[in-house]
Subunit: 361 residues, 2 copies
C-alpha cells in the first residue's frame, strides 16, 4: 500500500505525463527496469517494494522514485512462483443473484481486509459440474484457502478439496460431514423450528412454496425438517408448489394465488425464501386477507428488504454476514497456525423473527 500511495502521489502531481511518453506501453516493466533506473540491485528493489529487510532510507527513496516514475506494477505471477505463496482465497458460491451470497461476501471481505489475503469469487449456478470446473480452475492458481458453499460436492470436487493441501471451509450448512472446517446453520433444524412455531400458533392446514431446484440442498433440508416436525405433531403439508426462474416476487404472488384457488382452506403458508414470501404477502393484502388471523405466513432468510414491506414477514435469519466472517477467520487462523490446526465446525443459531404474519399465542 505504501508503494501504491506513493505512486498515486506521483501521478497526482503530474509526473505521469512525462514518463508515459518515455516508456513504450508494449512491454510490461520488470524489476530489472526499476533496478537500472535506480542504480540498485534487483534484490534491493524487491526488498523496498515489499518493505522487507533492512534498507537504508536513501536507497528506499531512490527505488520508490524510480518505480513510481516508471509506473511499475509488480508481477505477482513471478512473485508467487518464486515464493510459493499466493495471497488469494477462493470463494465458491452458487449465485450472485441471490442476495444471500453478496452478504456472505461482505462478511468475508470485512475479515480479509485486515490481512493481505484477497477473496476471489467463483460462481457455480447450483450445478455440480460447474462447481467442479470452477474449483479446478481456481485451485490451479494455488490459492491459500478455499471457502465453498454447501457440503454436497461431486466426487471429483471432493477429491480436489481433500488433496488441495490448503484450509477448506464449507459454509452455509452444517447438516452433514465436512471435509475440513465448516461454518453455517442447520437448515434441517431451521425447518423444524419454524414448523414448531407455526404449529404452536395454532395453524393446521399448511402449504409449502419453494424453489424447484433439486440441487439446492439447503432448501431441501429445510423442507425436510419442516415436514418432519409437522408430522410429529400430526400435521401434514396440505399443498405444495415449486417454481424456477423468473422474478421471485412475481412468482410468490402467482404461486400464492394458484395455491389458494386450489386449496382455499389453507391457514398458513411457509415460503422457502423471503422474496417469494413478500410476493405472497402483497397478493394477500391486496385481496384483503386477514393476516395473520385468516392466514399465517412465514419465510426464510431475513433479507433486509423486508423492512420496507407493509407488514413484517415472519422469517428466520440465516446469519449470512456472520458465516462469512467466521469462515474467513478460520482461514486466517489456520494459515497463521504453526502446527496443523484441528478441523473446526461451527453451527450458528438462526434467530427467528415473528414479524406480524403469524398469530401469537
Amino acid at each position: 500500500m505504501d508503494n501504491l500511495s506513493e505512486w498515486r502521489y506521483k501521478y497526482e502531481n503530474g509526473n505521469f505525463g512525462i514518463t508515459s511518453l518515455t516508456n513504450s506501453p508494449k512491454r510490461p516493466l520488470t524489476l530489472r527496469d526499476v533496478s537500472e533506473a535506480s542504480g540498485v540491485s534487483e534484490m534491493t528493489v524487491s526488498r523496498v517494494l515489499r518493505n522487507r529487510g533492512d534498507v537504508s532510507e536513501a536507497t528506499r527513496e531512490k527505488v520508490l522514485n524510480a518505480s513510481k516514475a516508471l509506473g511499475y506494477v509488480p508481477n505477482k505471477i513471478a512473485g508467487a512462483l518464486a515464493s510459493q505463496r499466493v495471497n488469494l482465497v477462493a470463494v465458491i458460491i452458487p449465485s450472485l443473484g441471490n442476495m444471500v451470497f453478496p452478504e456472505v461476501m461482505t462478511g468475508i471481505s470485512q475479515v480479509l481486509e485486515d490481512t493481505d489475503l484477497q477473496p476471489v469469487v467463483g460462481v457455480t449456478d447450483y450445478l455440480p459440474e460447474k462447481e467442479e470446473k470452477v474449483l479446478y480452475e481456481m485451485l490451479s492458481w494455488r490459492p491459500s484457502g478455499v471457502i465453498i458453499a454447501g457440503l454436497e460436492h461431486s466426487d471429483a470436487s471432493h477429491a480436489m478439496l481433500e488433496n488441495a493441501g490448503i484450509p477448506v471451509v464449507e459454509i452455509m450448512d452444517v447438516d452433514g460431514p465436512a471435509i475440513d472446517h465448516c461454518v453455517g446453520i442447520s437448515h434441517r433444524r431451521a425447518g423444524r423450528k419454524m414448523a414448531k412455531q407455526i404449529v404452536k400458533s395454532g395453524y393446521q392446514n399448511i402449504g409449502f412454496l419453494g424453489t424447484k431446484m433439486p440441487l439446492d440442498h439447503r432448501a431441501r433440508k429445510r423442507f425436510e425438517g419442516f415436514t418432519e416436525t409437522l408430522a410429529k405433531n400430526g400435521v401434514e403439508i396440505a399443498d405444495q408448489e415449486f417454481y424456477s426462474g423468473g422474478s421471485a416476487l412475481a412468482k410468490g404472488r402467482e404461486m400464492t394465488a394458484a395455491m389458494l384457488k386450489r386449496s382455499p382452506n389453507l391457514d398458513c403458508l411457509y415460503f422457502s425464501n423471503d422474496m417469494i414470501g413478500a410476493g405472497g404477502l402483497l397478493y394477500l393484502l391486496e385481496n384483503n386477507y386477514d393476516i395473520p388471523g385468516q392466514i399465517g405466513l412465514a419465510g426464510f432468510n431475513g433479507v433486509e428488504m423486508l423492512d420496507g414491506l407493509p407488514i413484517q414477514l415472519a422469517t428466520m435469519d440465516a446469519c449470512r454476514n456472520e458465516i462469512g466472517q467466521n469462515a474467513a477467520q478460520i482461514i486466517v487462523e489456520t494459515l497463521a497456525a504453526e502446527t496443523p490446526m484441528e478441523s473446526k465446525c461451527l453451527e450458528l443459531s438462526p434467530k427467528i423473527s415473528l414479524g406480524k404474519t403469524l398469530k401469537r399465542r
Copy 2:
C-alpha cells in the same frame, strides 16, 4: 475441460481412494510427477494436458491415466509465467449488493463462457482509493483485459489503465471521455428522457429522491439531465431528499412519507432507483393515494423484482445484461485481433417502460 472430465470419470469410478493413499497431500504435484509416473518427458505431458502438438494416442492415454490417478492439477502460475499469457479478465465494479452488477456479470460470463477467458471480480464500494487498490492488485496478476465500471477514475487509476497494455472497457456510462473502449448508456440522456415523459404527462410539482452518494457519478448525471430538461420546460424540482445506507425499500417508504408531509402539493416523484421507488409506491398505496392521478411515480433500472409489485412502476431499463455481453465481446475481439483494434464506444438506448404509475396523455 477434456482433462477435467476424464479426471472426474476416474474419481467417480473409485480410483481416487487408492491414489489418495499413495501420495502425501503436503506437496502439490508437478508435471515432473506425472512425467515419472507415466514414463514420458515433462514436455510431452505438458502437450497432452494442453492438447497441443502431435502426440500419439498411446502416449496420450498413458499420460492422461497417470495424471488422473495422481490427481494432478496444473500450476497456472508457472504456466502463465512461462507462456506470458493469463486467461483472466479483471472486472471492477462498485458493489455486489446493487443487483445491477450481478446482472452485468451474468452478461459478461455468458460471453466469456465460450472462450477460455475467465472473469475475476473486484469490488470498490464506490471509493476511488479502493478502486485504485483493487486495480493495482488485479493488474499485478497480468490479466488479459479489464472491464471497469464508470468513466471517473483517480489519476493513478487512469494511468494504470492507460499503461496496462491490455484492452480496457469502461462500462455503464458513456457521458465522458473513455480511456480505450466503452459500453453503456448516457445517464444524462436517461434523466432527460424521464423528465420529458413526466412533463408530457402533465406533472408540475416534482420531487426527487435519491442516494446521498457523491461518488455515484451515474446517479448524479441522471439527476443533472433530469433537472436540466425540467428547467427547459420551466419546471423546477420542488423538493428533494437523499439517503444512504439501510434497506432501500424501507428508505423509499420513509423518504416518501417525509417528503409528502413536508411538501403535500407534490404531484410526481422521481426515484433514482427502483428499490426506493417500490418503497414509495407501497407507502402511497397503503395511504390510499391515487396513482397516477393524484401522484405520479418513476424509478430507474428495470429491476426484475418490479414485476411482483401491486402496480407496475414506470422505469427505464439500464441494459445491464447487454452491457456485460458487449463489454466481454469487445475484450474477446480485441484479443483475437491481429492488428491493434480501434477503440470502440457503444452507447445503448435505455428503453422507457411506462408501467401504470404515470398518467398517459
